[in-house]
Symmetry: C2
Subunit: 375 residues, 2 copies
């Protein structure tokens, strides 16, 4: 292998794929990055037991010239750090017979001990055994994942709850995550020519990583599902994640379908009031109380102090209510909401509160189970 | 106490003084911030066992109105967080007889349990017992401290070495820090009307904190030394630090006064080459070798790889040399150097290398003790 590649483009590729390399990987080859020069393309790949990231640099312009094809695996963090510290515009990478990679530019010569690429985990092409293949708008998918994934559980106590459920049915893809106390769900329309149903659970952390490195541009992401993996491909980047096995809890009976009262309120003023109130909230518990035209927020921490805040209600239907909730969960939901107003639906003192972005009442909702308090 | 104060100014004051409050302060009153409304001024103070920070907000303009003088101590982190989360332009602070502080703005009312200010550690005015009083240009002092303090030891094994030595003699103030392997020293001229000598050791960490919160503007910082403290006052901010007791090592015989050879080299290209070479340097040890007109930098990590870099030498006197140094220490020195060129003085294979900024040969220097290597 011998190539000439632009420092900036190589660095970008390495920084993206580095996210699949754990900081303390003990198995040398998995601490490595697989570099493969094809006829007119450089493919950079990393993987761990749950995720694979691949970045393809096309040889179309002056940023990459492949002089000799070949492949090698080198220590990912060292390689990335070396390229980052380089001040050359173009870098030459050359692998010799003893698998040594020489990285050279004008005044600098670096030799890294390489490992044989045949020992590197293979990525099987998904095309042959994909059971579902969707094309989704990049930004829509990104926004939906970010809105939902935060509600997933962080504890490994029930592994399925650390995942995000992807339920595809009737040309609609519903993403849902819950930790048992809060739940977030968003449904998006996806064109597909066949009548097909599929339900998978994808690790929430992998999704958040995937979304971070996906281009933010208005393109299409390919979503391919096999029996064991889901693969997201957008532009130069492919992220493949293992699936979580198990039965995702049925949500039908959890989600309230009727409500006692509802209010519409400005998202930004409510978020600020929730954040303020949560500062003095013991165990993050804040109380919400409606009055004629205002929502009062209250909290206290013993021996420190208490806080009372107020936000104007824009619309109210039904009776006044009082409910105690985890303020951090409410703030998380409001942070992820681009809608100017939200609707809060009260379904009973001990039933979940339902929050909708006002511009998206039918497809996006969040549930929070109230906290039992002495009052 | 009752005042009306601008949110932004109060927040700025609190963020500055918060640095003296340890994250896990167990003694409630020391986790507090002392707020004192004087006739036409608000004084905000925090302290820990080694440092006091005080910020004075003048009542000159519309940003502060004192309606009733008084004082109280409230939990510093809660108070700062509450003010940070406020979206009001002006905030009213009022203390009642039971020492409760009410923080109010349009829609928000917060009550914090206060503590009695008489229990708060007093700050004694330095004027009465200052043994040395200097006025130093703010930026010069800041730059000097930042250049020197990084060389101080981080280990409490020899407490005096965690400090920066301030040696005042013959109208010159010499700042020195060393961890036994590296040493940094800078001497600045300071006007003073009396012939006085004084030597103190100031905790390096306190100095770095002090410097961070000092205004960056071109003003004068007052430095007052008592038998137990040093106090820096600039504009609205006063930082007082305890001194480290003990005997600072005599540096006279450590500092080489003759050299075998010296080279002049560009600071930026050398820094980049040092940083690159250090990536592959086992235990951060890099080797420097002069050739006719170039400085070669070499390093290696077993089973990973090695690197060779080169930087052009601008001027050379004396013989060629080879020396092994800690690359991180060299990078630290070069990072803090604003001079375009540096001079490296070789004083022997096992003697410290001396580095000077080229524009400041007489007053600033750094020493690094070489590393013994197999080669």
């Amino acid at each position: 292998m011998r190539i000439n590649v632009s420092k900036d483009i190589l660095l970008k590729a390495l920084q993206q794929v580095l996210k699949a390399v754990p900081a303390n990987q003990q198995i040398p080859i998995l601490a490595g990055v697989h570099i493969q020069a094809l006829t007119n393309e450089l493919v950079v790949t990393t993987c761990n037991s749950s995720m694979t990231i691949q970045y393809r640099i096309p040889g179309e312009d002056t940023s990459l010239t492949v002089q000799r094809i070949g492949e090698v695996v080198v220590p990912a963090r060292y390689f990335c750090e070396i390229i980052r510290k380089s001040d050359a515009g173009m870098i030459t990478l050359e692998v010799d017979r003893s698998l040594r990679l020489t990285i050279s530019s004008e005044h600098t010569q670096i030799r890294l001990c390489g490992m044989d690429a045949v020992d590197y985990p293979a990525i099987h092409p998904a095309e042959n055994h994909a059971v579902l293949k969707l094309a989704v708008n990049n930004q829509l998918l990104k926004a939906s994942i970010l809105q939902v994934a935060g509600a997933a559980s962080l504890s490994e106590h029930r592994p399925v709850l650390t995942g995000v459920s992807f339920q595809y049915r009737n040309h609609r893809l519903q993403l849902t995550a819950t930790n048992g106390i809060r739940l977030a769900s968003r449904t998006i329309d996806v064109e597909h020519d066949a009548e097909i149903e599929r339900h998978i659970i994808v690790p929430g952390r992998n999704l958040v990583e995937a979304v971070k490195i996906m281009d933010g541009e208005d393109r299409t992401t390919e979503v391919e599902v096999t029996n064991r993996h889901v693969r997201f491909t957008a532009n130069h980047i492919m992220v493949q994640s293992a699936l979580i096995e198990g039965e995702y809890p049925s949500l039908h009976h959890v989600i309230p379908h009727t409500f006692i009262s509802e209010i519409t309120i400005g998202t930004a003023p409510l978020l600020k009031a929730v954040e303020r109130t949560t500062v003095l909230a013991s165990e993050s518990i804040i109380r919400l109380e409606t009055t004629a035209d205002r929502l009062r927020l209250l909290s206290q921490t013993a021996e420190i102090g208490d806080i009372e805040d107020e936000v104007s209600i824009l619309e109210k239907n039904g009776e006044d209510f009082t409910i105690s909730l985890n303020g951090k969960y409410v703030a998380d939901i409001l942070h992820g909401t681009s809608s100017e107003f939200v609707r809060l639906r009260f379904t009973g003192k001990m039933s979940p509160m339902v929050i909708h972005p006002k511009n998206d009442l039918s497809s996006t909702f969040f549930l929070i189970t109230p906290v039992r308090t002495a009052k």
